[in-house]
Symmetry: C2
Subunit: 211 residues, 2 copies
């Protein structure tokens, strides 16, 4: 997925979380206004790019006055959908799934974890962060009885296809995908963010060898 539409490219969209993080810190520190130049220095991009980026999202600044931090933060939060938490299941509660459940404050990121699933009988019934791990066999019932918007896949590539088939059949179209399975290859109408940690490790290896 390279573009959301003809106007906003993925590189611009991918900077939005960085604005969010930066503005959150400024806001926590009581900063009330910020110039595009200041934002550009924090984000290590040009001031012109900051202005262009924010124009894409509606242009919240006034020339010469800078940006109102709480207002801009609010707008960025709204763009990122943080005010409308997407109800989300995590499938696969191995080492990675467990870390994902425990490590993130999902509500602050616009997601609410409502179900944890695994095929491993030994894990079923265990509580993590007020949620009980449920057995894979109850997935369809759960999705039927609960309104679920998204799924996080923390499973190996080999088992991903059949799990995605089931989630898709139950109406899930939004995925955070830690496997290497190509979801949009089969289901082009899905919104997928792939996270390929091993590719980051390999890239570091290349840079270490060749720089």
């Amino acid at each position: 997925m390279n573009k959301t539409d003809n106007q906003i490219s993925m590189p611009v969209i991918r900077r939005l979380p960085r604005y969010y993080r930066c503005l959150s810190i400024l806001s926590e520190n009581g900063v009330e206004t910020v110039s595009s130049k200041e934002l550009s220095q924090i984000l290590n991009i040009t001031a012109s790019q900051v202005r262009q980026d924010l124009n894409h999202f509606g242009g919240f600044g006034l020339q010469g006055c800078g940006y109102d931090v709480p207002h801009l933060l609010d707008k960025v939060r709204e763009l990122l959908g943080i005010y409308r938490a997407k109800r989300t299941v995590i499938y696969g509660i191995g080492n990675l799934g467990r870390a994902v459940v425990c490590h993130f404050d999902f509500i602050k990121l616009g997601f609410e974890i409502c179900g944890l699933f695994d095929t491993n009988e030994k894990l079923v019934g265990e509580n993590i962060k007020d949620l009980t791990i449920l057995h894979d066999s109850t997935l369809e019932d759960f999705l039927l009885q609960n309104s679920v918007d998204a799924a996080i896949l923390c499973i190996p590539t080999d088992s991903a296809e059949q799990v995605v088939d089931r989630l898709y059949a139950a109406g899930i179209r939004c995925f955070l995908n830690f496997s290497h399975y190509d979801i949009t290859g089969k289901y082009p109408d899905c919104i997928v963010e792939d996270v390929h940690l091993s590719e980051s490790i390999l890239t570091l290896g290349f840079l270490a060898e060749n720089l």
Copy 2:
């Protein structure tokens, strides 16, 4: 970091792990030759881009014959430095650090985990994957007595600066960074791969709201 030098751009480098993964699967399945067209279909890019990419890395194909899979895989492995495992410490063995230790077959990715460190006394002495978690206070001694090439930071942003200072002082210049601390901002001579999982989650939120 956007470029390794004037020739090879980061987007090209970032495709190299995908070639590696794809060629590994072909090789495991006994496939001996592959055309740029076939590679392009698997990788979802154009055949011309495949040829350009591989030319960047030395051009291993013969016109009309396609690429020799074992040979190309070997070359890609070499480029990624997989044959020269970088000795690596992981700092921070909370949920995320533990998942990182357990989840990856680092040797296959060109890294060898040789030390685990944490400040939490309760974790010190625990064994994970044949390695014992060591106390933070022994970090400098360990780095002095062992040849270490890289560090993986699985700690919050707030505590990252002082840890990076210590690792840098001990000669470490290669980092996989799960924190949001800007290592190259302070140490431009470091090779850093930042992994910002929360930004992937936020990006998914934006796409889910706006597509």
